[in-house]
């Protein structure tokens, strides 16, 4: 199953200049892994040294925050999306 990933403009150069791309996976966990496999330069931007999602990074699976999802092995279906956004932080 293909799933679309969208990035903030600041990270486009870590994904070959693209803000949108697709990866192929069966599950959400697979899609997250495939995203990093396709664009490994994203890893230090999204995750800290211990591979925890950075404090001000949000990764949405459709409309849900991946960090709060109980199960990342949920199977993908057509139209699913992954979106990386900056958490509202001050200002």
């Amino acid at each position: 199953m293909k799933i679309e990933v969208s990035l903030p403009s600041l990270l486009a150069d870590s994904a070959g200049g693209k803000r949108r791309f697709t990866v192929e996976a069966d599950t959400l966990a697979g899609a997250l892994a495939a995203m990093l496999e396709a664009h490994p330069l994203l890893r230090p931007h999204l995750y800290d040294e211990a591979m925890r999602t950075r404090k001000h990074v949000l990764i949405f699976f459709n409309d849900e925050n991946v960090a709060t999802l109980p199960d990342r092995n949920v199977r993908l279906k057509p139209g699913d999306r992954l979106q990386v956004v900056q958490a509202v932080s001050g200002g």
Binding site: L10, S14, P40, P44, D48, E49, S89
Partner: protein
């Protein structure tokens, strides 16, 4: 020695909290054109023009997306992220917050680069910047548990390579102090004798707890170092083994940047005080010593006469290797000033930029 060629191009690399800007001129350094913002949106804490591979290296940070190293081979038009840039291991327990300094290794080691980072640590590349490893002898120093951040963070902001000995390195970090290695960075000794402690709340007899703001190496006397300290200006004539004050004649003892020219002239920008980190009386002035700190001269010709309650950050000042030397500074309010005559007179370069974090020169 100073470079005399008239045909060379001068690039002034200016990093800010929201991207990088480049100023371009010829060797006369009278007319400047600006390009940028490059890497807009990224905090740029370090820049380096690499004459070996004709590229610019940039330490890019974001409080959201972390810290990475990027390079450009077309004067900032395009950038690519270094795949295996400086990064602490998960086991280290340290966080890479900023890359504060990128410097080439000794000329006899053309593939070697060093990067100083926050949390304080030192990284090395032996393959011309493709892959980086921590020189963890520094963070494994017995004093590590006593390291304490300054107001700007626990940053390793100065890396100096002895031109006479590729195995001898100095680093300085705030508010920790000076370290020297005589084995290429494997092991380190603190070099803080004669420097006062700053009030970190720790015991005064510690070998660390010295808030070095910036340190330079005299190009003609490899054992002579100068530093702008949190509360003073100091010189060492014995490779850092001991320090003594050279602050007599200065209007104050607080400031951040310090640079040295190819002839050995040293420049600083004193601020009012620790509590009031801007120019005293709002007067933007640079101070120069041409006699190793015995006397200081205030330089202000061409600098603004209207009140400038600004600062100059520790890495926001630079010199070039031309003759006479160029001296450059960027302020916390985003103005860039340049001198093409060793600081005797100054002009303001075009543009009003974000807060300036770093200024470097690259003569091509």
């Amino acid at each position: 020695m100073p470079t005399k060629s008239k045909s060379r191009r001068v690039v002034l690399l200016v990093g800010t909290v929201k991207g990088a800007f480049l100023y371009h001129s010829d060797a006369r350094r009278k007319k400047w054109t600006m390009t940028g913002p490059h890497l807009p949106g990224w905090e740029i804490y370090s820049l380096c023009g690499d004459p070996r591979r004709n590229r610019i290296l940039a330490g890019t940070s974001s409080f959201v997306y972390g810290t990475t190293l990027r390079e450009s081979s077309d004067l900032g038009k395009t950038w690519k992220q270094v795949k295996a840039g400086p990064a602490y291991s998960a086991e280290s327990g340290f966080e890479l917050k900023h890359i504060w300094q990128i410097v080439p290794g000794h000329p006899s080691e053309p593939g070697t680069w060093y990067a100083g980072v926050e949390e304080a640590g030192l990284f090395v590349s032996r393959d011309d910047g493709k892959t980086w490893q921590e020189l963890d002898g520094l963070t494994k120093h017995p004093s590590r548990k006593l390291w304490f951040p300054g107001n700007g963070g626990m940053c390793l902001h100065t890396i100096l390579v002895d031109p006479a000995n590729p195995l001898r390195l100095w680093v300085a970090a705030s508010a920790i102090g000076v370290f020297r290695s005589d084995d290429g960075g494997k092991t380190w000794e603190t070099k803080n004798r004669g420097l006062p402690t700053v009030p970190t709340g720790q015991p005064a007899e510690l070998e660390v707890g010295r808030c070095v703001h910036k340190m330079v190496l005299d190009p003609h006397r490899p054992g002579t170092l100068y530093q702008q300290f949190h509360g003073g200006v100091f010189r060492s004539d014995d490779a850092g083994d001991s320090w003594r004050s050279i602050a007599a004649g200065l209007p104050g003892n607080f400031g951040f940047p310090m640079v040295v020219t190819a002839r050995g002239d040293v420049f600083i920008v004193p601020l009012h005080s620790d509590e009031q980190r801007f120019m005293a009386q709002g007067a933007l002035k640079v101070y120069r010593t041409c006699d190793r700190g015995r006397t200081w001269r205030a330089l202000a010709r061409g600098l603004p006469t209207d009140p400038h309650y600004v600062g100059v950050l520790r890495d926001a000042m630079a010199t070039d290797p031309l003759d006479p030397a160029g001296v450059y500074l960027g302020t916390t309010s985003g103005e860039v000033f340049a001198s093409a005559d060793n600081g005797d007179s100054w002009t303001r370069l075009p543009g009003n930029l974000p807060r300036i974090t770093t200024v470097k020169t690259w003569v091509r």
